[in-house]
Assembly symmetry: C2
Homo-oligomer: 148 residues x 2
DNA sequence: CTAATTTATATTGTGTACAATTTAATTGCT
DNA sequence: AGCAATTAAATTGTACACAATATAAATTAG
């Protein structure tokens, strides 16, 4: 009505981005107790997930999948290494490249992690269809934002 | 088909949460150049947005709106104070309470920020309907996750 | 076949997030 | 009034994110 456009747009309640930001924070928070049992943070869990299906990958490829850079991944991977879950080796062909290889313990953790997605689904407590739409919309947003 | 359930669920591509996490990171990244002109980070911009409509609020109330705790807000507000955008006073009635009041500069910044939502909308490059659905779904998720 | 360029990580520095703890002020209870 | 319990912020410590820069190995160009 009489509300000037600034008031309208500069309002928290009207902002998709704030909802998204809040949801991401809340989601990571919700994962915490589940992942605590595995002694992993959410970003560490993501890295392990990539490695469980793509063992022996480089930091660069890992970063491309997770959309994270070496500034984030180097210390994260060092922490996972110090927990004995992986080894940060070097490529034979290219000495610059770190080859990340899971240890037996790292491989084994996959079994214990296999319950996590199911538990998280219950915690999220939204219908599958809604979660699918949410994922779809986030993916569209990611596609747009990635190419800039 | 032959893929065991672990493989299926422990895959990055099948996870809503990862899409959400990526999208939130990408969104904050996209804000950066816009907010750089205002010398604000995205969380700082959020705090300013609350204060532009609710000046003189306490840290607690600010935290309730942003869903952030004093561990995050105290240093953030100190940074905004050192930029001369606000003053961290004390309530007369209750000495524990910090009353956050915008300075003239803090008030004035609202004008320069008024272009940000429009610019961000263009950057996001999704149809209004999709952004609305996205917001709606994030809000539903927030509602579920908040009450735990 | 070097010198310049590119590429893969690492490092540095800033700013969140958040759990856990601490401090100080207020409220409730008896 | 006096003291335990509560509450509001602040502090401490850990772990991201990411820009900017540095380093070292590989590739390319002349």
């Amino acid at each position: 009505m009489a509300t000037p456009p600034d008031e309208q747009h500069l309002c928290l309640d009207n902002q998709v981005c704030f909802s998204l930001y809040r949801a991401a924070n809340a989601m990571v928070r919700a994962y915490r107790p589940l992942l605590e049992e595995l002694d992993l943070t959410y970003p560490q869990y993501l890295a392990m997930m990539v490695l469980w299906s793509d063992n022996g990958i480089s930091v660069k490829l890992l970063g491309e999948q997770l959309k994270l850079d070496s500034g984030t991944l180097t210390p994260l991977l060092k922490r996972l290494e110090s927990k004995g879950l992986l080894h940060r080796g070097r490529s034979e062909q290219d000495e610059r490249v770190r080859v990340i290889e899971l240890t037996a313990a790292g491989q084994a953790l996959k079994q214990r992690a296999s319950q996590v997605p199911e538990k998280m689904f219950c915690l999220l407590g939204l219908e599958v269809e809604k979660l699918q739409s949410l994922k779809q919309l986030c993916d569209e947003l990611n596609q747009v934002l990635d190419q800039r």
